[in-house]
Symmetry: C2
Subunit: 165 residues, 2 copies
DNA sequence: CAAAAGTTTCAGAATTGATTGAAAATAAGA
DNA sequence: TCTTATTTTCAATCAATTCTGAAACTTTTG
């Protein structure tokens, strides 16, 4: 496999992985392309490389910037905007976790909070109230743990990893 | 909010959460329904409660059993099959992680392995090789960590949680 | 200020993934 | 064995998501 083939394969794999992570396929492919680009790329470059439309490129670049996975880089004397990827994997993972926590876990916590108001009126609903209580407890722990994780630096990961092994 | 409304709301929320977790909406709803059911349910019960077709119910129940989130229960004297949900949240999370690891992380590791064969031939591809190396290192760590996590019992989670707080 | 360069928006098209429902297969009872 | 209850399969349909491309908008420059 030569370098060119390797790069293409990497972009495809990264895209496939991303699509299971709330990062859409194209979004992940753009990130992959920028990761392995030796220098920053313009929207035009990205469109050409990945053979996607202008609108698609724009939307996904913006989403990546919202997530903090890609940064804008302005070159003096250049009118175009250029983009670079966040390359620290620990940082990438943290940013994805932060987004998904906000988008998924937090609404669930809110719903569970509301469900806690339900009172068991008969033995049948007793089970329901208990299940909700358990899940709420668990989710709150998970939420707190993820908060710490998102705040922590990459050493934390290394430390936990070492402890486990 | 009465118990009935609460149950419906719970099923909807669980379905929404699940759909971002590789567990399809219906799959998660079935799991939710079984979680809060005071006793095991038949495929027919599930179809009626969630207003889904026979085929859909069947496919998703089977998927849930494959994942280890739902168990079959045979009642003596009954020809139908009944189902119950795994209710230990830590166990549920572990099983989801195990599935996703297999389906997503492992193929990525395989791809990275192949990409490691690529050799840098010029300064431009030097960066590519370096990025692949970094990601591979990180992914291997993540993989090992997740393996430990999947094997661990719920005390592990509590312990890590306590350490962080 | 007008023209050129670049970016953003969004309605409709295309794609992908989920669901239905009826028919085929399987298992249990008579 | 034949009949009936139950589960499984799968092509067709439906729903949701993603992508395109042209038009509108914004910014820069002469």
């Amino acid at each position: 496999m030569n370098v060119q083939e390797g790069k293409e394969k990497f972009i495809q794999s990264w895209g496939a992985l991303g699509s299971n992570w709330g990062v859409s396929r194209t979004m992940a492919q753009i990130h992959a392309l920028l990761l392995i680009a030796p220098h920053s790329l313009s929207a035009e470059d990205i469109m050409e490389d990945l053979k996607i439309s202008r609108g698609n490129a724009n939307m996904n670049i913006r989403a990546l910037m919202d997530w903090g996975l890609v940064y804008k880089e302005l070159k003096t004397g250049e009118r175009k905007e250029f983009f670079v990827a966040e390359k620290d994997m620990w940082d990438v993972v943290k940013k994805i976790i932060a987004q998904r926590k906000k988008k998924e876990l937090e609404p669930m916590l809110k719903a569970l909070e509301e469900l806690s108001a339900v009172e068991a009126s008969d033995p049948d609903s007793e089970n329901f109230v208990q299940v909700v209580r358990d899940i709420k407890l668990f989710s709150n722990k998970a939420n707190a743990t993820l908060d710490k994780l998102v705040q922590s630096d990459s050493n934390w990961f290394v430390k936990v990893f070492m402890n486990m092994i």
